[in-house]
Amino acid sequence: MKSHYQLLIIGGGPAGLAAATTAAEQGVSCAVLDEQPMLGGQIYRSIESIPDQRAKKLGPEYLRGKKIAAAFRESSAEYYPNTKVWSLNKEREVGISQNDQASVITADQVIVASGAIERPVPFSGWTLPGVMQAGAGQILYKSAGIVPDNGVVLAGSGPLLLLLAWQYLHAGVEVKALLDVTPLGNHITALPKFPRALLAHHYLTKGIGYQIELKRAGIPMLFGVSDLRAEGDEQCQRVTFKHSGKQKTIESELLLTHFGVIPHIWLTQAAGCHHQWDDSQQCWRPKHDEWGNTDIDGIIVAGDGAGINGARSAEHAGRLAGFEVLFALGIISQKERDSKAAKDRKWMQDERHIRPFLEKYYQIPKKLLATADDETIVCRCEEVTAGEIRQAVKDGHDNSNQVKFFTRCGMGPCQGRQCTNAVAHIVADEKDMPVEEMGHFRGRPPVAPLTLEQLASLKNKEVL
């Protein structure tokens, strides 16, 4: 690995790979830094190594990853797996660690393509063994061929639930029920966005297709579910909820939940990029222009790490970022950039027709985002409850960071990834103020594990 590249790309998913392929085509020295052992990010996890018989059961969208991977492999871009990036600053100094060695390398341009994480939504019992995020189920299946053996309940709101239910159905897994917590009222509020969504009708027909198959297979699908809870003695034993005015229970040792995805912004936060609250996507995202330029010169974002638009958009966003880098490095002119990028810009606009509808349809209700039950743990690491957070606000700690200082919410190993959103919503709810004014936990490096020995090893290196 060199100590300086023209372009460093952080993230090995569709956006990162597409950006690298695009830039490398014009001879730019570039490297993709990937914390995973194999490329593909989360959406195309294990795409190069997955046995065919498993890949087939995952659906056609997954297989698209093979094309992206192949194009990347053919390019001259370098690929560094098992490489954690623990810091990035405005000088584009990138702190990395591989095995037990840490170092700081630099680049003229950096593309952060850090993807998305599941939106963490605390609910009663969510910390019990046996309660996992739906993405976790997908990762186990894609990367290891591991599936539930005693059945599973799927709950939450979002297209991923349908997909996973369908994938499990085809793997012979017993899906005990699919509990949709999307408020029934969303059907109505989303209606005005529906006509535009028809322009991306393949998404809609796919979703409906899954539903029909699941129904035919006899899988109970309940809509308008509320008051979701996992219960059990030291592990999940049953799922309880309200539906059609009745209290219901399903015995299950496994509950997979999904409440949408949000950009994984820890690195751009630590780098000091400006972030804004997106009310429609209900998430913080780095402020950026059409090409992905953030407010820090030379730091570009692409893919779901910039804002949730899905895997296809991520590819196009990656290519746009790649073209922007070529322009910024003076390799192509602005006119050339615009003309090369024309198709990708058009495709991105087409893919985005579905977004306003999906976002409105699957909008998570405030009651779930601002954890209603005071006994529920919000900060998983430090075990701080919603009630304790509310009390801190009442005691005068009136923004997310003050609550963090006082309660230790967000000071554990996950650095607030699982709780910052809920904390902001709870504080906003208590103060009856907009979420964005409550703030996101101030991002601090290192954003990936860094040991004292690894840090000490920087001493003898030529750190710029």
Partner: protein, 101 residues
Amino acid sequence: MFKQLPEDNIDKVEIVLNGQAIQVTKGISVAAAVLSQGQSYFRTTPVSDSKRAPFCMMGVCYDCLMVINGQANQRSCATYVENGMIIEVQQGVGPDLENNA
């Protein structure tokens, strides 16, 4: 909770889980291997001794921490199985640090 789907041509490696030697699929994460063995919890929390197991499987929740080859606080979902690897459920903050004197 989980099982390994039968598939062709799976290579195995041997690891030691809570003192027992077992064969698991080569190339998978420690978390995946441990889940497929029927282990219901991976650690107990330092704050309240509560049992935890993997939640996100993608390295952002830090609930899957285990003691791996004697080192505490290793994300088992981000560590991959190797022959001879020793894996233990982590109790609280993990084993006492050694003295040097």
